[in-house]
Each structure stands twice: as C-alpha cells, then as structure tokens.
C-alpha cells in the first residue's frame, strides 16, 4: 500500500506544483497575487474539452491550443486590468482584489456557456495505458502529469537562471524602475510573463481535467487555495520552492489520509503549513520580504 500511496502523493504533488508555477511566476515578476489563476486554469480545461469534442482535435494539439487560449487570457487580464492599475500606481491590494473580480466573471461566464454540471473528456481521449508493477497501478496520464510538471519546471528554472531574458526578469523582480532605467522593456516582459504564467495554468487545468475526470466552472477554487499555500510555503516567487512545497503539500495530504484518517487530509496539510511558517515566516526558500509593499 505504501508504494501506491507514494505514487498518489507524487501525482497530487506534481499537480499542485504545476499549478503553483504560474502563480508564483506572476508574483515574482509582477508582484501581484493573481487570484484569477484558478479561473484561468479552469478556462484551459474547458478550452481543451471544447476543441477535443467539437473539432475532434488530438489531445496533444488540444493541450497546446488550450495553453495558447489561457495564455492569451492571461495577457488580456494584464493589458486590460493590471496595466491600468500599474499606471495609476495603485496600492498592492487593489490588483489582488481586481483579480478576484476577474475570477468571478470567468467562472460565471463558464457556467453560462457550459452549464454548472460536471463535464468530462469523451471516452478514448485519455491515453488508456496502464502499468502494473507489483501491487502498484500506474496510469499513463499520471506519468504524463509528473513528466510534464517536472519538464516545465526545469525549463522555466533554467530560462530564468541561464538566459538573458531570465536575467532581465530577475532585474525586474529586484526593481522594475531600475530595470527600466537599464533599458529593459519592463511592460513587454510583464505581458510576456502574464502570458507564460497563464499558459502554464491552462496546461495544469487540462492535465487535471484528464486525470480526475471532472471539469466544472468552480474547479479552480479548491486548487487556488492549495496554490496560495504552496507559494507561501515555497517562498513567494521562488520556482524551486513551488516544486518542493507542492510536493510537500501533496505528500502531507495523501499520507495523513492514508495513515491517520481521511477526514484529516486538509487539516494536517494546513496545520504543517502553519507550523513551518511559524519557524520560517518567509517560506522555505524566500528571503525575508524580498519585495516591499
């Protein structure tokens, strides 16, 4: 049973990490807690579902298209909502509240268009492969989730550490004003970051929609709460932190369900989060108040 539970935890942890990736990226660069990330995640899921059912697109293409759709949505949110607020020097809380509004608008629209019922990918969309190693059952989709999560994280990590673009992003994270004085196209990179972060959120939405077989207008809510916990725990804006904290939350949740009681899953996960923050208020990898309000 332990090995199966470890696998369950690895999948769930990857899901959390993948979701938190875009979330933490936006915070790191734009210094905005983007609470519409859960809704963007949901839009990604519906976009892929729509393309697969209506146009019979193959899954890999639908995944890329869904990433493009949610990426464009993220870009729109930045251009239409976050940019005007930046231009007016709005205090920190304002963009966060504005993104709550975006989230409500998006999930209500999805409800209006697709209905409130749970939808799912048609039979046969999901790769049906399954491996049985001893007592452990591994489905192809689970390998896909873990693989894609780790690949995207590695690419993002290297891009930020090793490339000129990454250097510019890190400069913006230190100080947008100084970066702009150095000749960095700050607004352009803000748009780009919003696009990439939302596309990552959309990818997470498609994978989770496939794995758990349930797409609903409100599917972003519970994972948004977990995502907030992950980026706080990992250190705000830290990509490595998002990975490790995501895994940590997944393992804490699954193991407490497995060895304590299934009623305690969230209680243990969030209890541990609280304890860690007592000891390290800036999270596992965060430097204290790296960004000032």
């Amino acid at each position: 049973m332990l090995s199966q539970q470890l696998l369950n935890a690895l999948t769930l942890g990857s899901v959390y990490a993948l979701f938190a990736l875009g979330f933490t990226l936006v915070f790191g660069v734009l210094a905005v807690i983007n609470l519409s990330h859960g809704a963007v995640f949901m839009v990604g899921s519906y976009a892929a579902l729509f393309l697969v059912t209506r146009f019979e697109m193959p899954l890999w293409l639908a995944l890329l298209a869904a990433m493009a759709v949610s990426g464009m949505l993220g870009l729109l949110i930045d251009v239409l909502i976050l940019k005007p607020l930046r231009a007016r020097n709005a205090p920190h809380l304002i963009p966060m509240i504005a993104t709550i509004g975006v989230a409500i608008t998006l999930s209500s629209s999805a409800q209006g268009i697709f209905g409130a019922e749970i939808l799912r990918f048609p039979e046969g969309t999901i790769p049906a492969g399954e491996f049985i190693i001893g007592d452990v059952h591994v489905r192809a989709i689970e390998i896909g989730i873990v693989g894609i999560a780790f690949t995207l994280m590695a690419v993002l990590f290297l891009a930020i550490r090793r490339t000129q673009l990454g250097r510019a992003l890190r400069a913006i994270a230190e100080s947008p004003k100084a970066a702009s004085l150095l000749g960095i196209n700050v607004e352009g990179l803000f748009h780009g970051t919003s696009f990439v972060a939302a596309a990552l959120g959309g990818a997470a939405g498609v994978l989770i929609g496939l794995d758990f077989n349930a797409i609903t207008p409100l599917m972003g809510q519970p994972i948004l709460h977990k995502g907030i916990a992950v980026i706080i725990l990992g250190g705000m804006g830290d990509i490595r932190g998002a990975l490790i904290a995501g895994m940590f939350l997944g393992f804490a949740e699954v193991m407490s369900k497995a060895y304590l009681s299934s009623q305690l899953g969230d209680a243990v996960a969030f209890g541990l989060l609280f304890l860690i923050l007592l000891v390290r208020p800036s999270g596992m990898f965060g430097r204290v108040l790296e960004r000032k309000a």
Partner: protein
C-alpha cells in the same frame, strides 16, 4: 356544421347530468409548487393529476368525479399550516395530500389530526412523521426500508463477508445515508475493513481508495451522489479494486453510467420505484405522464400517482352522505385496509410503532426494487442466475 353542434349538445347534457346526479369528491393537495422544494412538489402534483384524470375518465369513484383542490405550501412550515386550515375549514375537502417536506408535515400534520381529517404524505421520509397521530398516513418509503434489502440481496448474491465504506461527510443526504448503512451493516453482522470520507468538490479519491484496497473488502458500500460515485468507481478500477459497489439512493441517476461507463458493473442499488418495472400499471403511468407533461416521471410522481389510487380504493367503500365529518372519519377507517398493486409495486399500510405507545398513523409496507448494474444499465434483479 351540425355534427359538432350535436356533439357539444351531448357533452353539455352529459355534464349537466353528471352535475345533477353525482357530487364531486373534493380532495386537497398541499404541495410545494414554488421555492426550493418545488422540484419535488411539481412532480408530485403532476402525479396526482395523472391519477385523477385516469380515475375520472373511467367514471370516477362510484360515479363521483374526483376534484383536486391544489394549493401551494411553498415548502414552508407556516404556509403549510395556513394551506391546511384553508383546505379543512374553507374548502371542506375530504382529505389532504401533502405537504412535500417532512418538516412541513411535522408542523401541519397536527392541524389535520386535531380536526380529524386524513393528512396523507407521499414524500415525507423522516422518522416520527406518523407519530403525530392516527390521521397521518404516508406511502413514502424510507432509506431505512430500502438499504437493508439492498445490502441483504447483494450479500446473498456475492457471498459478502466484509465491506469497506466511503461517504461524503459534509452533505446531509450522503451523511444520513451513511448512518443508515452503518446500522444495517451492524445488524447484518458484516465486518467493515475501513470507513473513508471525502468532502463536497473532491475529485481525487485515490488515497482513500488505496487504503480500501489494502483491506481487501468483498464489496464497497458507497453513500455518495451519482457524480462522485462515478469517479470513485473509475478510480477504484484504475487502482485494481475489483470488488462490486453497493449504493444508496444517490446512485439512482442516469449520470452514474454516463460517467463511469462500465466501471460500475455488478453494482447493487435499491429504489422505491423503477421506471423499467414492466407491470402494466407502471407502463400505463409512465406513458400517461409522458403524454401529459412531455417529461419523464420520477419516483415522487409515481408515489403521488399511487397515493391517489389508494385513496380512490378506500373511497369506494365510503358512503358520501351530507355529513362531512362522518365521511372524513369513514375514509380514515377505510384507508388502512387498502392494498393495491400500483406503479411502485404491491402496496399496503402498516400501523406505525410510536415511541410513547400512543396510537399513531400508518407507514408504507412495501418491498423496494433492487437493481443490479449490467452492461452499464440498471437491470431489475431477479435472483442469481
């Protein structure tokens, strides 16, 4: 031109004759036709209407037509009391059907009982309803009547010795279903390998199911809503759990198999009514309902339909003199003797066992339908083949 006129004349004559020779039997219907409970109340009213049309088309009861006096009690206790008073004292009905919710029956039932007139619930499943008094009747079957039969049938079919349980612990419906299951499992001396919970909105049940798998149960008892149950079935199969499922009333939805496809094969479920019950009376009901309302009937409509037929059967032996009180009492005394075979199967009443030993009303004495899932469909269980 002359033909329709002649028909009209005949019809008018017939109506006049009917009016002159026979009185209408006024029966009150107090159901929630607006508000949250309207989804049940409207189906119930439709069920009564279908039954009344059918009875009147055959000439009524002993030549008297049934006239339904329909009132909206809005699913509210206060409103149910008001409607009951209006029906009893103003409209002077012979008996009342309703109200829709158990809570409303607890409030309005005593009004009818005090006025010595029958209040007949078709959808009240709470315990203690018929404790109110000897004028309270119901033909609604409770989960605590259905689940013991479901479990016993499945146990016999599969030779089950130990089961695992999973249920949603933050939903009144799935939680109360679990409470009944728990008692049934204890009564039938089945070992429980593990009891797992989830909360509304959960989509990942793998941790709980991996634990269930480790206990190697012979069956998985699931008090869940259909969509959750379907995902639980799918994830069980992908984890290699082969045990069949036993479900509560939440399984009674076509959604279950739209989602789970063939993962739910061999599942046992019980229900007070079956839309595929091939008995002619049920087929007639289903067709008549579809024709009148252009929608499929549900369990609530079927129970209302049967309830009016039960009352009509009792009315046959009631002498309708001018004395309203005597007629109401005669109907009350005739009802417990009725036994019919309706859309919900063979039916009779059983006297309620009240907590304090005082005379109570009458509950349904009815065997539920047990289904086994075969080929992604509910199939009436007819014994081991």
């Amino acid at each position: 031109m002359s033909f329709p006129r002649k028909t009209l004349f005949l019809a008018a004559a017939a109506m006049l004759a009917g009016g002159a020779l026979a009185a209408d039997i006024k029966i009150g219907v107090a159901e929630a036709l607006s508000g949250g409970a309207a989804q049940y109340g409207v189906a119930i009213r439709n069920g009564f209407q279908v039954a009344a049309d059918e009875i009147n088309a055959k000439g009524g009861v002993n030549g008297n037509k049934i006239q339904l006096v329909i009132e909206d009690e809005q699913g509210k206790k206060e409103e149910a009391i008001n409607v009951f008073k209006k029906l009893i004292f103003q409209d002077k009905v012979l008996m009342i059907f309703g109200p829709t919710l158990s809570n409303s029956m607890f409030a309005a039932g005593p009004v009818a009982n005090g006025a010595k007139i029958v209040a007949f619930g078709t959808s009240n499943t709470a315990g203690g309803i018929t404790d109110i008094g000897p004028y309270i009747f119901r033909n609604s079957v409770m989960e605590s009547d259905v689940l013991p039969v479901t479990v016993a049938t499945a146990v016999k079919h599969y030779g089950i010795k130990k089961v695992a349980v999973i249920y949603g612990n933050d939903d009144a419906f799935t939680k109360s279903g679990y409470d009944v299951f728990k008692k049934v499992l204890a009564d039938q001396k089945l070992a429980v390998t593990s009891t797992e919970t989830y909360v509304k909105g959960d989509v990942d049940f793998k941790a709980q199911l991996t634990k269930i798998k480790a206990g190697e149960p012979d069956a998985v008892v699931c008090s869940c809503l259909a969509e959750e149950a379907a995902n639980i079935m799918l994830q069980s199969r992908s984890l290699g759990i082969k045990a069949p499922f036993i479900g509560g009333n939440g399984f009674n939805s076509p959604k279950l198999f739209e989602i789970s496809r063939l993962a739910g094969e061999g599942t046992f479920v019980g229900s007070p009514w079956s839309n595929v019950n091939p008995a002619p009376v049920n087929v007639n009901f289903v067709n008549a309902y579809k024709q009148k309302y252009n929608a499929d009937p549900n369990q609530f409509a079927a129970q209302a339909y049967d309830a009016l037929h039960i009352a009509a059967m009792a009315l046959k032996s009631v002498k309708l003199s001018g004395n309203l009180e005597a007629a109401r009492q005669a109907l009350r005394d005739a009802l417990p003797k009725v036994s019919i075979s309706g859309a919900t199967g063979p039916f009779k009443f059983r006297p309620a066992v009240t907590k304090d030993g005082k005379p109570g009303g009458f509950d349904a004495d009815q065997t539920p339908f047990i289904y086994i899932v075969q080929g992604g469909k509910f199939t009436l269980y007819t014994g081991k083949k």
